[in-house]
């Protein structure tokens, strides 16, 4: 039981779970779940009470019972006491101040990563303003490698997402060439297939792999099919670079996705065994997003942001190359407008980075959300400042397969220009060699004789 009194009103919070929920900044998903604070005052009371909770409490009070949930077991069993030592005497409120202090730099944050649980990260984020989330995330550096190096400070990558409504190979290829000529694709060339048919996925994998080999592109490919489909294709000898899966923060959510940790373990080992990375062994690509647990009716009364942070515990077990929070895809019943989408994205990026994950964000919205391109420009700029590892690259922001709006190839160029950021170093060199950019990183006019234009579509 936690409580705080304001002007004779005693606000009581039954357990840590409800304290976290009531302390969460307002969002529609928590209202829909019936767990949101009922007034502004109650929310701040919860935040004040939360500030006094010792971090150690999170190791003793599981918000979803240990016996009932394999993610809780993972969080508790993999907790690193040595890494935790430095911060073990702090309360959540003191932790917020400690994170922001000048002494807490990139190296210090690295040493405590494994000592922070998702619930601690979620809790402290609830006491932070947007600028705090940006300032601390910027201090974190999470670098991963497969065929190139992603996440170095001063660099900023993109997933080239050349989706097509019928998985038409030429249609996909056309968007892919367009993107490459705009300097997109250093995080991954990743296609969401319209169907999960293994033969279709196989053809898409071969398409990207052929282009990559033909043009010696220092990047990796991924077709975002279900884990079981990817496993089946690995066994058939498909050219799988990264193994993809959507994950959530409760065991029951993952059951609804048709996966569990044993299956993830199997897929991870299978992807590692292919040994296709040239400079690193980060072989997994995960997607997450606030609201998945409520949507699967599997949230156990835990607020959507804390659920999201718990998904990162699953992700970090597998040392992924990329983790992408698809923040605005889920719809207005979870994140209503630009304000809520922006806040959620900054929380996710912060929590993921604090836990040691290579966070990217799908800066996006659907047409029934109260959001538009201006909101996405704001979020894009904020995430660039925060040191986000990667975003999506989609022709003209319009994904014609998934029917939502994300970031365009142009958006990434804008961010690189205004913030002086560069692509992954290996990819940057390739872009210059292909005559796509000059030495300052500026895009050059497309040469009609560029082999990328002629080579792919026959």
């Amino acid at each position: 039981m936690y409580k705080f009194t304001i002007r004779n009103i005693v606000y009581r919070f039954d357990d840590l779970k409800s304290l976290l929920a009531k302390a969460s900044p307002y969002r529609t998903g928590d209202v829909l779940a019936g767990i949101c604070a009922e007034s502004y005052e109650e929310r701040v009371a919860a935040q004040i009470a939360l500030a006094d909770v010792p971090l150690k409490t999170f190791l003793n009070e599981a918000i979803i019972p240990y016996e009932k949930d394999e993610i809780t077991r993972l969080i508790i069993d993999s907790h690193d006491d040595t890494a935790f030592n430095l911060i073990s005497h702090l309360t959540v409120g003191e932790f917020r101040d400690w994170l922001l202090s000048d002494e807490t730099d990139t190296a210090v944050l690295k040493t405590i990563e494994a000592g922070i649980t998702p619930e601690m990260a979620a809790a402290v984020s609830k006491l932070m303003r947007n600028q705090d989330l940006i300032a601390v995330a910027k201090k974190c550096e999470v670098v991963t490698r497969f065929r190139n190096t992603i996440g170095l400070k001063g660099h900023f990558s993109t997933r080239l997402q050349p989706n097509h409504p019928t998985d038409d190979l030429k249609g996909v290829a056309a968007s892919m060439i367009d993107g490459l000529l705009y300097g997109s694709g250093d995080a991954v060339i990743g296609i969401n297939p319209a169907t999960d048919s293994p033969s279709v996925v196989m053809n898409l994998l071969k398409l990207i792999d052929n282009v990559r080999l033909q043009f010696e592109i220092p990047t990796q490919s991924c077709v975002l099919s279900h884990l079981t489909t990817t496993l089946e294709l690995i066994n058939k000898g498909a050219p799988v670079d990264l193994c993809f899966q959507s994950i959530g923060g409760t065991e029951q959510t993952n059951t609804s996705f048709g996966i569990n940790m044993a299956l993830l373990d199997e897929a991870y080992q299978a992807a590692l065994s292919l040994n296709r990375g040239t400079i690193g062994k980060n072989v997994m690509y995960f997607e997450t997003g606030q609201g998945s647990e409520l949507s699967a009716n599997a949230h156990h009364g835990v607020d959507q942001q804390t659920c999201e942070a718990r998904a990162y515990a699953v992700a970090r077990r597998y040392k992924p190359l990329l983790v992408n929070t698809v923040v605005g895809f889920i719809g207005p019943e979870y994140l209503y407008d630009g304000k809520q989408i922006i806040r959620a994205a900054l929380e996710d990026h912060f929590c993921g980075k604090l836990l040691g994950l290579p966070m990217g964000v799908d800066i996006c919205y659907t047409n029934h959300a109260e959001a538009d391109q201006d909101d996405m420009d704001n979020l894009l700029t904020l995430l660039g400042v925060a040191g986000c590892n990667f975003i999506m690259g989609i022709p003209g922001s319009d994904d014609i397969m998934l029917n939502y709006q994300s970031t365009s190839f142009h958006d990434a160029l804008y961010l690189r220009k205004v913030l002086g950021l560069k692509p992954a170093p290996e990819f940057d060199k390739w872009l210059m060699k292909q005559g796509i950019t000059d030495e300052k990183g500026n895009l050059l006019p497309v040469n009609p004789g560029n082999k990328l234009l002629a080579g792919i579509i026959k």
Partner: protein, 249 residues
């Protein structure tokens, strides 16, 4: 000047392979104004569709040729804002509507439910053309039809509540789909065998993208009629039905 750039953009040749917004050129690193305004217009159409209203008077007038009772119903979501925030309210009838249905519980084969969903525009524009084909097919097959229901602020699952109260064996929900940038007028048709509250999407078959530039009403009506017959034959709908149906593409 823009025209000149566009004409000489070597990427233009890629455009024949996809409707994606490729080869749109650039000014500095930004999207040229013409392309930017095209995008804004598409988004405006989608936004307007989300806030569009069912044209009840016109629908009632059009549907009168079928000589079936037409009922006007409303979900528990009293406004569009509430509808967007509380999908659970959009799946249930308000009390007045529920009471209205109690007088119509003769066992019928098919209930047809017309709901605004996320684009009333789609429903206003495509419903009558589809039913003009479908209803005669149902009647010719000696199937009985429950009163036609028009629902404001409705989601797909409200059809379960309605068809169950109407005592119908199958429900067909015609509903406006979430507008995309390429189309704001897509209607979906969801078929559920033995509808009852609490069912989820795996119990349904969906025919999507019904609109003049998408799936034509003739094909949609044929598919629906085929599915209805198959559902009666197999006594199920949803995943099990879809897997066995060769016609469904």
């Amino acid at each position: 000047m823009n025209k000149e750039i566009a004409n000489t953009d070597p990427l233009i040749s890629l455009k024949e392979f996809t409707t994606a917004r490729i080869a749109i050129g650039r000014v500095g690193t930004s999207i040229p104004l013409k392309q930017l305004l095209e995008f804004k217009l598409a988004h405006a159409h989608a936004r307007d569709a989300v806030y569009s209203l069912l044209d009840i008077d016109k629908l009632i007038a059009d549907l009168s040729i079928f000589n079936l009772p037409v009922l006007q119903l409303h979900s528990k979501a009293e406004s569009r804002h509430k509808y967007l925030k509380r999908p659970d309210h959009g799946r249930l009838l308000d009390e007045e509507s529920a009471a209205q249905l109690d007088t119509y519980n003769d066992r019928k084969d098919v209930a047809i439910i017309i709901a605004d969903g996320l684009s009333a525009t789609a429903v206003n524009e495509n419903t009558f053309a589809l039913l003009e084909l479908l209803i005669p097919m149902l009647l010719a097959a000696k199937l009985t039809i429950a009163p036609l229901c028009l629902v404001e602020q409705g989601r797909v699952a409200i059809g379960d509540d309605i068809a169950c109260r109407l005592n119908s064996k199958i429900s067909v929900v015609l509903i406006g789909e979430r507008p995309g940038l390429s189309a704001a007028d897509s209607m979906g048709a969801y078929l559920t065998y033995n509808p009852m509250p609490g069912l989820t999407d795996e119990s349904r078959n969906c025919i999507s993208n019904i609109r003049p530039q998408g799936l034509a009403v003739k094909q949609a009506a044929d598919k629906l009629f085929y599915l209805i017959n198959e559902a009666f034959k197999r006594k199920l709908s949803g995943v099990g039905l879809k897997d066995n149906a060769g016609l469904i593409g």
